[in-house]
Assembly symmetry: C2
Homo-oligomer: 352 residues x 2
């Protein structure tokens, strides 16, 4: 007989994180990680950290890091929320801000975690197909909803929209909270953070995992009105008061303060992305105009699934999604120029 206690276990389909090979000597272009190390200032902050202080709890408010992010975006500390990676920030935001009976709205092609959080928190949702050009149609989001979440640039399409587009979205939704997920926004995108001063129902999220090369430290943030941030804080403090560890506070702050390194790194990735795009196009690929640190590409006469599998045998890891509409596309993270050389060489071999 089944034991009764098993009835009270949460029935949930385990989410399987993307493949993360730990092999050596691979070209790893499948997780949108930054190919460059974090700012030397962040590295030095860790080196200089007095580890005996780890016996103490972190600053629960992570004030020094919040203040640095607030200064960077030209807002106040009360407009900044922090989490253990932007997944944590978005998960708290879904819980805290999407409590309507109406479905929340997001594109059909988008970050795969949105439906997972909806299932976890029992949030109804409705997806709106992106166009044939993979662009999001702002007009779709005029339909009454319980909230809107849009990545800008979108993933895995890499397409970004301007602040005008976001402002239109917010104006169409005076009765909902609109979340703009800017995980990939630092690679030539336009941030909507300044709009949060004008619209109290707009939340903009970001991460240190991509543009700041600190995926290993887990720092995500949100910018919004003091009212929205207070609700996020209340939920977070009802869950776990100390989400950001002491080393992350120091290293994150040092990263933000070193704007020169940040811009130089982003610009290097943008330059390599443009080169990668041209070389792929020269080989007959169609590449969407990326504003992210990855490109989304297809080929008129070859199977992208086969290319993905071929490259894997050559220890070059990219991402393939067996999903409707995009099952002949690949997502390729922008690596160093050397990694791009290897990638292009192996793709040429495949195309032969």
């Amino acid at each position: 007989m089944e034991q009764t206690w098993k009835n009270n276990l949460r029935k949930i389909k385990p989410y399987v994180p993307g493949e993360q090979s730990r092999e050596k000597d691979i070209v790893k272009l499948n997780a949108n990680e930054n190919p460059y190390p974090p700012s030397p200032e962040a590295v030095e902050a860790i080196r200089a950290f007095d580890a005996s202080k780890l016996r103490l709890y972190p600053n629960a408010d992570a004030t020094p890091l919040k203040e640095a992010i607030a200064d960077y975006y030209g807002v106040s500390k009360e407009n900044v929320f922090l989490g253990n990676g932007s997944d944590d920030v978005l998960a708290v935001a879904f819980q805290a801000l999407f409590n309507s009976d109406l479905p929340i709205a997001y594109p059909d092609l988008t970050y795969s975690f949105y439906p997972v959080w909806c299932d976890l928190f029992g949030i109804p949702y409705k997806t709106y197909p992106v166009g044939d050009d993979f662009r999001i149609n702002a007009e779709d989001y005029r339909e009454k909803n319980g909230g809107v979440v849009i990545p800008n640039p979108n993933a895995p399409t890499s397409l970004g929209e301007g602040v005008d587009f976001v402002e239109k979205l917010v104006q169409y939704n005076p009765d909902s909270v609109v979340i703009i997920d800017e995980a990939y926004n630092d690679f030539g995108g336009e941030t909507s953070a300044p709009l949060t001063k004008k619209y109290d129902n707009l939340l903009v999220t970001g991460t240190f995992s991509k543009s700041r090369s600190l995926a290993g430290l887990r720092i995500g943030y949100a910018i919004g009105s003091a009212e929205l941030i207070a609700v996020l804080e209340a939920v977070k403090n009802s869950y776990n008061s100390y989400t950001i560890d002491s080393l992350s506070i120091e290293a994150g702050r040092a990263s933000i303060l070193d704007n020169e390194y940040f811009e130089a790194t982003c610009n290097k990735i943008i330059a390599t992305r443009e080169r990668l795009t041209s070389e792929l196009e020269a080989l007959g690929f169609t590449v969407l105009p990326s504003q992210a640190n990855f490109v989304f590409a297809t080929h008129a006469s070859r199977s992208m699934k086969e290319m993905f599998e071929y490259l894997k045998t050559k220890k070059v890891f990219i991402r393939y999604f067996a999903l409707p509409r995009i099952d002949n596309y690949v997502r390729i993270t922008v690596g160093t120029d050397e990694e791009t050389d290897v990638l292009i060489r192996e793709i040429k071999e495949f195309l032969k």
Copy 2:
């Protein structure tokens, strides 16, 4: 007119974390932090960490840390769950394991976060008064319930129970999941982790924040049957795949492997606790027999609230709870012998 989007915000009373003074030259005995630094091996693991690797996501499974904890408790990796501090572990466990219509059961005097998680996740609960001696009565937990959670030792009472007591609790509850929260168990308590091999519905949680002096790094864990752990993993992976950062994996593992330092530190704290207890008793206090890194004390003829406030003016911070039954008690973290000297000196001044 109130804007409609505000209706969809989560209405939750903000939980206010305990007072954490950042002043210098204070004697901080109010947060149950360890007065000694983490293991030199953990410090060295941070120093030796190649910070350029922070550009990569952490191992989502945190395998090296799980394996070290599994070895320490004599279980398998599949019996270990990790979280961002034991608050994260317990929050996931409440969500994942307490999905009954019956109330979960816990003592009236206990960790203040239990009702907060119940409110957050909509879990009904019922509290059972501890006895006049502040002991938990196992028989109370024979009443049908949706789950049981008990800290062992309990906080803020400091009283611990043996494995026999826990086994009785589990035997009384074949239809519920029983969680034993061992945050303070390493200071002379008996761990119930081995019982998880016998009872699939028992979960034992622990933390690196107290006995391992790593509160600043945020590492908590749970030990249980593969079936319980799989449910925790499914919920965790539906929320945030990468909760443990790369530095915590390395430093945590190094801490577990340095058992000699761990035992020496715990033994020092136990010795100071016994000395503190004797000195307080000599001053007319009643001190409960602590198995934790804090003591819970009262005085027959003096106001503990006044003592708490007096000590604060002397920059000695202890904890006072204005709660029924314990409003003439104080909770004092066991510090170094030097901190204990200052504490006792100031208490003598107060008693004059």
